[in-house]
């Protein structure tokens, strides 16, 4: 798709970026997503630095520590990193015309992505039972500094990211179904590359959010 294209009226033209439209569109979308998540992180910094105290990792909950399960989320981060490597392996497989490898790695990516969302749901349920919500329970608010603010920012940032992962999983299922139908070939596999870009971006954003929300 890098070669000249034919416009209505038989005029030929070469795309300026020398990449196909879907890939260009995805990169422009991802560039806008950078600013979307930067806005969220910026709001988080304003709210957090505007307060005198914040729940910290490595500190017992009774002494003002975080109610978040960092070990579980670290494992979830590992899952997302694994899904990124299976995604790029799927792309590498179809680049070499390996249909079996493409299907195998796409299925693995879907499962790992779904597992990430599932673990996040389990985490949300556990936190809600503890009373950690955008409006914390009175018991938790008594020990966690600025609990309501912490809860609001936590659910906003991780929730938006989780939504992105969920949409990614749905799109990935669609791409996987197409792969099983033999729609992708060594010469034509733009769909795999484009969904891969989105998936790696979601992984990249989580790498930043995990550090900012859970570890700092």
């Amino acid at each position: 798709m890098n070669e000249a294209i034919t416009l209505p009226g038989g005029v030929t033209a070469e795309p300026g970026m020398r990449i196909y439209n879907q890939k260009l569109g995805m990169w422009i979308f991802l560039a806008s997503e950078v600013m979307f998540f930067t806005g969220l992180i910026g709001a988080y910094i304003i709210l957090r630095f505007g307060t005198t105290a914040w729940a910290l990792p490595g500190v017992p909950l009774e002494e003002g520590g975080t109610p978040l399960a960092i070990n579980l989320t670290a494992f979830n981060t590992f899952m997302l990193i694994c899904s990124s490597v299976t995604m790029v392996k799927a792309f590498a497989a179809i680049e070499h015309g390996d249909q079996k490898g493409l299907r195998r790695y796409l299925v693995a990516t879907v499962l790992l992505g779904a597992a990430f969302v599932g673990i996040q749901v389990v985490e949300y349920i556990a936190l809600a039972h503890e009373g950690f919500l955008p409006r914390c329970s009175e018991e938790l608010a008594a020990v966690v500094p600025n609990c309501d603010l912490f809860g609001s920012t936590f659910y906003t940032m991780t929730g938006f990211h989780g939504t992105h992962v969920s949409i990614g999983v749905l799109c990935m299922i669609w791409v996987t179904v197409k792969a099983f139908r033999g729609k992708y070939t060594k010469e034509n596999h733009g769909g795999v590359e484009v969904i891969g870009l989105y998936w790696h971006f979601v992984d990249l954003v989580w790498i930043m959010l995990f550090t900012i929300v859970y570890l700092i």
Binding site: T38, V85, N188, M208
Partner: protein
């Protein structure tokens, strides 16, 4: 179809995965057990996260192997993002 994909040298995806795994373990370890001053700790953790994110962008998203104009497009929002974050931090540092 994919000129860049055909031209590029295939990186070791598993090696990148291993580095990402090690950096994640280091991050959690540093956050839990480090006795570093808080400000230093934040710089170290953000530095590790940026390192990981860069690895994903360069090798898994293949930015390292793309044409310059696509790299410029992809990284165009980064200066804006940095300006926003630095401006917010400077505002709080007053």
């Amino acid at each position: 179809m994919m000129e860049t994909a055909e031209k590029k040298k295939q990186p070791s995806y598993m090696l990148i995965w291993f580095v990402l795994l090690v950096l994640t373990i280091v991050e959690v370890g540093v956050a839990y057990v480090s006795s570093l001053p808080r400000n230093v700790l934040i710089v170290v953790l953000v530095g590790l996260a940026i390192w990981k994110a860069t690895l994903v962008a360069m090798y898994y998203m293949h930015l390292k192997f793309e044409r310059l104009r696509l790299i410029l497009l992809a990284t165009a929002p980064l200066p804006l993002a940095i300006i926003l974050i630095v401006a917010i931090l400077l505002e709080h540092a007053r």
